[in-house]
């Protein structure tokens, strides 16, 4: 052996080294076990009495994946599945109330995964109630199933996490994994290694709003963790003419504004939020983008026609309510502010300004825009008719050329106006929509499918809008509204505004393709948003859509006070906001604008009132749970037989080792004889 070739001893070492390098090459045990999947989940919301939505276990919910192709797959899975827990995977259109009821009744289900299928064309899809905001509607509203396809799963308390997989390649990988490992007889699942998912979207809050608010409040144990936030963002309002008198020193000149004291207000309102079952998947194209853009464009046209105030006795209030999808919280707050003399905030005006509060009684007409997709007619819903309303309807019909104006009396669809008319029954108002009194035209209300395609929107990039396009439709509707309002205010025949450089196309583009658009560069403010979501959110996170809409409204309706350069600093005013913005979409010279724009809190009054009775149902009481970052991971779970074997072997080894140690210890004197000490210790 001694004279062995030196190479032969090296070879095993080299092989070992090579193996070692290969095995340890940049991958951690975790990465080799799990594969991350991108997806978004359903989350938990609460109202005054209940919880809704989904949550995973604290450390994630795991289950064996199982693709559901036919309805019988579910019953088979539930009756025959032999793995400990399952996560069924099904295409979106199969997510119905019946399926969910079936799955929720079983303790074998630890989660649910859905995906967008390319195979079937979806014609309707909505998880909203058939009558949205049912419990805050005035009598008679819900006799109609407005949202006919609605499953009402948005108001369902899933006992498990529900995820939407958004990446098709990853979905294919999941499907391959399923076909390789799981697609065998369900009865044999207990003896197979199975492809599994871990869904993690843990919700901190539970039970209902009062409970989660109480648990979020600072307590004696200094161990407070915020578990929920009230749902809400900002209400945005501006007006055509100023709302008070002022004389403002502006450089060397003084700008004075004088308006009549007896101004009546015409409200032109729209909601600015939608919702959906999955977080971040709220494109909201028809509801609310179509109506919000119509409002913006109407305000733009009206300002073009009426740039200056000339002793008119009517003003127009442009209002965006952000938070209406959740029981009209935003409009309730707006009305509450009005009643509490907080609208507009006139208590801390500067000495050079005077303004008085506006009350609901000052509103002569309430016009709400509500879903304005392409339609052959405009539909005006109203409760009761009065002369004011009749006059305005006559004007609408006068200026509507290609569009019919249909009137529906006696009931109105779910709308912010419901909040106002509930408390002020004689308030005159109409809700302008694209649908008639049978149900919504929008078959994807408050869902992830209410996107640009649903609105039939294609970006034209400054080419002319075809006659049948949504751009042209919205521009037409806005023109009808603006001209009618012009005559309503001035009592004169409305002109057709010219020199229009802002287009509906650009406005829609900002909402449907990303806020990072041409109009945003005009506003001179960077608005950050990773994804376009019309979900209202919570006040602690800035609602980018609301910020963008507010600033755009400011730019479209503001007065130019200095056409040559930016605003001077230190302008003392509470009635106005001054903005440095571009002159136009094409000319990016910074000029100074003066706007009435205001952003006010839109969380429900329920969160302001001390000792509010949460069960009373007076105000919207929605909160959103706090959560950890959602995650989905795929891994191979050993078979039950394997798992049982592992624990059995482990337990046996432990028991044996106890016995062995006991035996060795009890016989230690035999095994280890005590050495006889050579020299006995001496005692000193």
């Amino acid at each position: 052996m001694r004279d062995k070739d030196p190479f032969s001893t090296l070879i095993p070492i080299l092989v070992l080294l090579f193996l070692n390098i290969n095995l340890s090459y940049g991958s951690r045990a975790r990465d080799r076990m799990y594969q991350d999947i991108t997806g978004t989940g359903c989350f938990r919301r609460m109202n005054g009495t209940h919880q809704f939505g989904c949550s995973s276990d604290r450390r994630g919910s795991t289950g064996v994946i199982y693709f559901i192709e036919t309805p019988s797959d579910i019953t088979n899975l539930l009756s025959e599945g032999t793995a400990s827990s399952y996560i069924p995977i099904l295409s979106l259109e199969k997510l119905t109330k019946e399926t969910v009821n079936l799955l929720s009744g079983s303790d074998k289900i630890s989660g649910l995964v859905v995906f967008k299928s390319n195979e079937t064309e979806i014609t309707e899809y909505s998880h909203e109630d058939t009558c949205p905001n049912r419990h805050y509607a005035i009598d008679g509203t819900c006799d109609t199933d407005w949202n006919a396809p609605g499953t009402n799963l948005l108001n369902y308390d899933f006992g498990y996490p529900v995820f939407l997989l958004t990446n098709n390649t990853e979905l294919e990988e999941v499907r391959n994994c399923f076909n390789t490992f799981n697609n065998f007889s369900l009865r044999s699942h207990y003896e197979l290694s199975l492809c599994s998912l871990e869904l993690n979207f843990f919700m901190y809050a539970v039970i209902d709003t009062p409970t989660c608010l109480r648990r979020s409040a600072p307590r004696f144990n200094f161990n407070t963790h915020k578990v929920c936030d009230p749902i809400g963002a900002v209400n945005i309002w501006s007006s055509l003419f100023p709302i008070g008198n002022s004389s403002i020193n502006f450089g060397n000149t003084t700008h004075t504004v004088n308006i009549r004291g007896d101004m009546k207000q015409i409200v032109l309102a729209s909601r600015l939020d939608a919702t959906s079952l999955f977080f971040g998947k709220v494109p909201g194209a028809v509801n609310p983008v179509s109506n919000a853009v119509t409002l913006l464009y109407t305000s733009y046209l009206l300002k073009k026609m009426l740039p200056e105030y000339k002793d008119y006795d009517k003003n127009v209030l442009f209002i965006f309510f952000t938070g209406e999808s959740y029981d009209y919280g935003a409009s309730q707050r707006f009305l509450y502010d009005m009643e509490e003399k907080q609208f507009p905030m006139v208590s801390d005006l500067n000495p050079n300004e005077t303004a008085s509060n506006i009350f609901p009684s000052n509103i002569s007409l309430f016009i709400e825009l509500n879903q304005l997709g392409i339609s052959e007619s405009l539909n005006a819903f109203m409760l009761e008719e009065n002369t004011e309303l009749r006059n305005f309807l006559t004007l609408l019909k006068k200026y509507a050329k290609n569009l019919d104006i249909n009137e529906y009396k006696g009931h109105i669809p779910p709308a912010s106006f419901q909040t106002f008319v509930k408390n002020y029954t004689d308030m005159a108002g109409i809700v302008v929509t694209d649908h008639n009194n049978s149900s919504y035209t929008n078959k994807f209300y408050n869902s992830m499918y209410d996107d640009a395609e649903n609105l039939n929107y294609n970006y034209l990039n400054s080419s002319d809008a075809p006659k049948d396009s949504i751009q042209q439709h919205i521009a037409d509707v806005a023109m009808i509204l603006a001209r009618s309002l012009y005559e309503e205010i001035t009592k004169q025949e409305a002109p057709i505004p010219d020199n229009l450089d802002v287009t509906v196309d650009e406005l829609l583009h900002c909402y449907l393709a990303g806020i990072n658009c041409s109009i945003q560069s005009v506003l001179r403010k960077k608005i950050y948003q990773d994804m376009i979501s019309l979900y209202v959110g919570v006040p602690s996170s800035i609602n980018a859509i609301a910020t963008f809409t507010g600033l755009t409204l400011a730019w479209l309706t503001a007065d130019v006070v200095n056409n040559t350069g930016p605003c001077p600093g230190n302008i003392e005013t509470k009635l106005f906001h001054y903005y440095n913005m571009s002159r136009s979409l094409t000319d990016n010279t910074t000029i100074c604008y003066r706007s009435v724009i205001n952003f006010t809190d839109s969380t429900s009054p329920a969160f302001l009132i001390e000792d509010y009775d949460w069960t009373s149902g007076q105000y919207s009481s929605w909160t959103e749970s706090t959560w950890q970052q959602p995650s989905v991971r795929m891994f191979l779970r050993p078979s039950r037989v394997h798992e049982n074997m592992t624990i059995a072997v482990g337990s046996l080894t432990m028991a044996l080792s106890f016995i062995l140690v006991y035996l060795i210890k009890s016989r230690s004197h035999i095994l280890f004889p005590t050495p006889i000490e050579a020299t006995p210790p001496t005692r000193c």
Binding site: S55, M203, V206, N221, N223
Partner: protein, 101 residues
């Protein structure tokens, strides 16, 4: 402290102190007293102080058992009814679990 190195009257003193201290809502002191002095009270040959020590040991044992029963009942009642008590249940809790009622 090593009881075996103490004189009998010192032991009685100590046992009495522990017994009295237990009245300050300290059932665990009673439990310690009962266990610690059990041998002194029952296992050793008779001595003068033994009857008194025995008495304190028995009383301490009874006290600590009573306490254990009361605490056990409270724990069961609290765990079972905490959720249905709502605000009171939350206010009586030091740590409230996340995501569960």
């Amino acid at each position: 402290m090593d009881l075996s190195k103490m004189s009998n009257d010192k032991k009685l003193d100590l046992c009495r102190h522990y017994f009295k201290a237990g009245f300050a809502l300290l059932p665990f002191v009673w439990a310690v007293n009962a266990v610690w002095f059990f041998n002194e009270a029952f296992k050793r040959d008779q001595y003068d102080e033994q009857p008194q020590i025995k008495r304190y040991v028995i009383y301490s044992a009874i006290g600590s058992i009573l306490w254990s029963i009361i605490i056990a009942i409270w724990i069961i009642v609290f765990q079972v009814y905490r959720v249905s008590w709502g605000a009171i249940g939350d206010n009586l809790s030091f740590i409230i679990p996340f995501g569960t009622p």
